[in-house]
């Protein structure tokens, strides 16, 4: 095998980063949607992501795709079954997201901003530790949803799982943009985010719109959960913590409240992490990512695509 040129190497890191960043972006959208409507950082979002991969895991188990004995390998799941599992996980997570909003956030909607924020952290911890009780702390093997095929694009290695991740994320994000900008429920969401009281006066069902916002964000987190579990097939109740933090950072960098901003922030974070890992040291990647966050916020406090809105008085 020939020596790999620097350009190829950098391209390799960029493709790695795009795959990683797509999952950050999918998650970041969830933070951004909720923040846009409620000005609430929904820290439990990372745990909804974790629930998404567990929901898919249980479906695969009930459908008989997981090996009984510890020595045997997991079977490969056909594509139509994957679609079914993803749909199931999306539905279950949408429900979980709405339930979290209904039980934990709605009673506090008029209680200022700090109380719901602390509650969000509480829900997040509850799900992390409750998950350890219910699911167990051992990593669970996720079934391989597709044979791994590695494509070679001029020395840059692209496994098919990365392609699935990027394409799925892209399609969902475009769909979401269309939904928010071109449909009536989308218009209701935008109206709520502009001014909730006026929206209510105009006949928008605010509670239903907020529930819908949580449902959409959570369903996207479920997709992210399944995509990542396909790629890294060992799931644990704490798997959401790291990606949740990064997606939150991505949402802030991109401009929280902005959907294209979340996508951009996710991709930027993923690519910068990978390039720093590759060209410098992997252990510095996160430090650099967070320095990047600080710099962006110093230069543009509202994030790259964020609108600088005057504080509502």
């Amino acid at each position: 095998m020939a020596e790999v040129s620097l350009t190829t190497e950098v391209l390799q890191y960029v493709t790695n980063g795009v795959a990683k960043g797509s999952t950050y972006a999918l998650m970041a959208v969830g933070y951004t949607l909720v923040y846009g409507v409620l000005q609430l950082i929904n820290f439990a979002h990372a745990e909804v992501y974790m629930l998404g991969s567990y929901f898919a895991w249980y479906q695969a188990k009930w459908a008989g795709y997981l090996p009984d004995s510890k020595g045997a390998r997991a079977e490969t799941v056909p594509l139509y079954m994957v679609a079914l599992f993803v749909a199931g996980a999306m539905a279950a997570c949408a429900l979980a997201g709405m339930l979290i909003e209904r039980l934990a956030y709605r009673p506090l909607r008029n209680a200022g901003r700090l109380a719901p924020l602390i509650t969000a952290i509480g829900v997040s911890l509850l799900l992390q530790y409750g998950g350890q009780v219910v699911f167990g702390t051992e990593p669970k093997l996720f079934p391989t949803f597709a044979e791994t095929v590695v494509y070679d694009a001029g020395g840059v290695k692209i496994p098919n799982t990365n392609i699935y991740i990027v394409v799925t994320s892209l399609v969902l994000m475009l769909g979401l943009t269309f939904f928010v900008n071109k449909t009536r429920p989308g218009a209701a969401m935008r109206a709520c985010s502009h001014d909730m009281r006026t929206a209510r006066l105009m006949g928008v069902n605010v509670n239903a719109t907020i529930s819908l916002t949580f449902a959409i964000g959570s369903a996207l987190a479920a997709v992210a959960g399944v995509l990542v579990a396909m790629d890294q097939p060992a799931i644990t109740p704490l798997m959401g913590v790291r990606i949740g933090l990064k997606a939150f950072v991505a949402a802030v960098v991109g401009g929280i409240g902005s959907i294209p901003g979340a996508a951009l922030g996710g991709l930027l974070l993923g690519v910068s992490e990978s390039v720093v890992s590759g060209l410098w040291k992997p252990v510095y990647s996160e430090a650099v990512a967070f320095v990047f966050l600080i710099v962006v916020l110093l230069v543009k406090p509202s994030g790259i695509l964020g609108k600088s809105v005057r504080e509502k008085v």
């Binding site: 702390t137 051992e138 890294q232 097939p233 990978s274 890992s277 252990v283």
Partner: protein
């Protein structure tokens, strides 16, 4: 209403999980060694990402304890196990060590598998004057924590050297890459020893990559190593990570064999890695095909009792208990001091994992068995004796 109830139940369960750790600290106070009992504290990863380590080790310990008790105990005294879960976390190991030393007042402690945990727990026992025997922590620093800290397994300097020699001389591979966990004592130590030995033999380390924390994704580390085009990749990590690392290597088309230490060992290894570890090698603590009567009876009894295949961690747990028994007999009693004295005198002990003596640094000198991973099984490739390497 039922929904509300189930939510409350969920809250309660989560709360129980949160305060579960605190419960350990309370402890019972009637713990002063009752006449006729020898309390052995056991701290292991019984849950968490390395749960297999703790569970298999504990099986070995229980097998030995039950055998000894069935034969009338030691000098008429029965062995009693007090076990604590470290949840695969070094800090938790220290917490449970305090509980074992102060409220349970054990006579001797056995644990842990992971060096990081043993290093954290050792000072607690040292200070309390209680001897600690690690069944399988291989990092050299473990027994340097104090003169009451012992182990019954080989050390990472030997393991790293053995892996390097095996790769360079037996496999004939001269270009190696290393991937290791920077914040883990075991992984980092083993990587250091391999690096030094491999270079000393004349090989080159073409890439040396670390990761940190609870990582489950290794794309960039793998790309970096792939670009350097190594012939062999040394990955001294635990079984929870190696499957994911191996998958990422194969996803980028890297076909070089991976090589690792005893941390790979787990009944879950092949399941977590799928076919991605086929043709790879790792070091192991004993040879299950040994015709030795002790080994064969151990294998038979273990399978009869637990209905699964034993592994080397269970064998080391088993040997740790019998080493403590030998120490109690040599030291002339079961007080912490007598056991410590006895452990220092253990000589030519014949166990399942070989015949060994405890040296002046409280370590055991033992051979390492290199295994090759096949489709669904492991096969012995070579046994390396401490004397084989300079």
């Amino acid at each position: 209403m039922r929904k509300a109830l189930s939510v409350i139940a969920f809250f309660a369960m989560a709360l129980a999980a949160l305060i579960g750790g605190c419960k350990d600290k309370g402890g019972d106070n009637n713990s002063a060694a009752e006449a006729g009992e020898i309390k052995i504290g056991v701290f292991l990863s019984l849950s968490g990402k390395n749960a297999d380590f703790g569970k298999t080790t504990k099986n070995g310990i229980m097998l030995a304890v039950d055998e000894i008790n069935a034969a009338g105990g030691i000098g008429g005294k029965k062995l009693v196990i007090v076990d604590k879960d470290t949840r695969s976390q070094p800090d938790q190991a220290q917490t449970v060590a305090k509980a074992l030393a102060t409220s349970d007042k054990v006579a001797v402690a056995i644990g842990s598998v992971e060096s990081g945990q043993s290093i954290k727990a050792a000072p607690v026992f040292q200070e309390a004057g209680i001897p600690m025997v690690s069944p399988s922590s291989t990092n050299p620093d473990v027994t340097k924590q104090g003169d009451r800290i012992f182990r019954v397994c080989y050390l990472d300097d030997f393991q790293g050297q053995a892996c390097a020699t095996f790769a360079y001389k037996d496999l004939g591979l001269k270009k190696a890459a290393i991937i290791f966990a920077q914040d883990d004592d075991y992984s980092k130590g083993l990587a250091d020893f391999f690096r030094a030995s491999f270079k000393a033999l004349g090989g080159t380390i073409v890439e040396d990559v670390a990761f940190q924390g609870e990582v489950s994704e290794f794309k960039d580390q793998v790309s970096k190593i792939a670009a350097a085009n190594p012939e062999v990749i040394f990955a001294p990590v635990y079984y929870g990570s190696i499957g994911l690392i191996a998958r990422d290597f194969r996803k980028q088309g890297v076909k070089a064999p991976l090589l690792g230490g005893d941390g790979w060992e787990s009944p879950q290894l092949i399941q977590l890695a799928g076919e991605t570890l086929e043709g790879c090698y790792f070091g192991y603590h004993y040879d299950p095909e040994d015709k030795d009567e002790k080994v064969q009876s151990y294998l038979k009894n273990y399978k009869a009792k637990f209905n699964t295949e034993p592994n080397s961690l269970s064998a080391l747990g088993y040997d740790a208990v019998y080493t403590v028994k030998a120490a109690i007999e040599l030291g002339g009693g079961a007080s912490p001091d007598q056991i410590t004295q006895g452990l220092r005198k253990v000589k030519d002990f014949h166990g399942v994992t070989g015949t060994y003596s405890i040296d002046e640094n409280r370590n055991a000198k033992k051979p390492i068995t290199m295994l090759k991973i096949g489709g669904t099984s492991l096969s012995k490739v070579k046994v390396i004796q401490p004397g084989d390497l300079k």
